[in-house]
Assembly symmetry: none
Homo-oligomer: 245 residues x 2
């Protein structure tokens, strides 16, 4: 994560309202920390602090220790420029509803104006309408209509993941840093391959081009590295040495 | 979810390898079901079935009841056209590494060729290199470098979410091409290849595994068709016949 990438994180908080199971608080903290989020607010949790929360945090207990406990959602978001509430269902009065990706973009953009809160409701009943009234938008994570029972920490994980994606300015560095073989190197490889296939008597003299075309198609898809072409050509040389014995 | 949207789901399986905590199996099943995934394979779980798994499944226990238990990853993916392994760390030899979104797209596209497996390793140690050798690609979920401890069910949740997104976006193209070689066919090819490399004296007896792993990377990227594997094995047979003369 670059400095530019981390700046928005300092202005973003996750607010859990009325959480029933302390294990979910710990799991939510862990989900946040894996995605580089650090600021946790808890509104009237049923049990906290709690050993179960610490256990499920699995190393993200620093977030639990620093968590801000509040008596109401109003208190937790009063200083925010933008708050977005999560909702699993449709509401009587339509709040502007975002998908997770759109939510992440708006949240990060919102940090330019001030503090931003992502608000998650109770495991069973979510956020009340009065609580949603304190939010400027609603985010809905699309789920299986026949089974929409997303775990609280899973919902936090998905939104934290989308925030992390949206916040990443730079594309992920390629993992293969070695150079790919050039067209020229591949052409030399194909000449070598054809020679070896002849030497072992595999190339059909009636249709040599057909086989070579299929080989080009196969190796072309693999886009070999220089080092891999070296290995392949080593194999061809050994094959030729063997067959000329 | 439309019919077109659900078709790929019937060809996609989630494989959990050597899961230590049964609670994670249940939570993974729940994560899958919220995103409309249904097919769970378990390779040597430490404890299963288990009340803790059922409790954490929270209504996704039908997935647990239908889960296929296997003794090895090879058994769980032998009939697959494409398998992708999750990895939390970088490896000595670069597997083609996908991000979650790219993985989801390739997985869904792969269902046009046959069965597709998403493979998740052990909580502590992930997948072994030998297990990754059975996969054609690796997916890495970007995490906080200072805290990359993503919970197993959270990793399943993120990838299931990306699959659901990708599935909603892109209709799967009808199968036009020939079938891709299965994992089992590729395994037979690698055995044959190793034999041929020995016969021409190319395999370094001090480090035979290293070369074979590089070969797996190369051919795994190409995702050979059944007919291409036939050609390659024909070449190997001709090589062996030549060298035994």
């Amino acid at each position: 994560m670059s400095t530019a990438d981390t700046q928005w994180r300092t202005r973003l908080r996750v607010v859990l309202v009325g959480t029933t199971h302390p294990g979910n608080i710990g799991a939510a903290a862990r989900a946040m920390k894996t995605m580089g989020l650090e600021r946790l607010y808890l509104v009237s949790p049923e049990r906290f602090p709690c050993a179960e929360a610490t256990a499920r945090a699995a190393g993200a207990d620093d977030l639990l220790a620093a968590a801000v406990c509040c008596d109401s959602l109003a208190e937790a978001v009063s200083d925010c420029a933008w708050a977005v509430g999560t909702s699993a269902r449709s509401r009587h009065i339509a709040w502007p509803t975002l998908d997770p990706e759109g939510c992440a973009r708006q949240a990060i953009a919102g940090t330019a104006d001030g503090e931003v809160a992502l608000v998650f409701g109770r495991e069973r009943s979510g956020l009340s309408n009065a609580e949603l009234d304190l939010c400027q938008a609603v985010v809905h994570i699309p789920t299986n209509p026949a089974f929409s029972s997303l775990n609280l920490a899973s919902a936090v994980q998905i939104l934290a993941y989308e925030l992390s994606r949206a916040g990443a300015r730079e594309p992920v560095a390629p993992t293969v840093e070695e150079p790919a073989a050039s067209v020229e190197e591949m052409e030399r490889f194909y000449v070598h391959l054809e020679e070896a296939l002849r030497s072992i008597g595999y190339l059909d003299p009636r249709a040599p081009k057909l086989l070579m075309r299929r080989m080009r198609r196969l190796y072309g898809r693999a886009r070999p590295l220089e080092s891999e072409v070296s290995i392949l050509r080593g194999i061809l040389s050994a094959t030729l040495a063997q067959s000329s014995r």
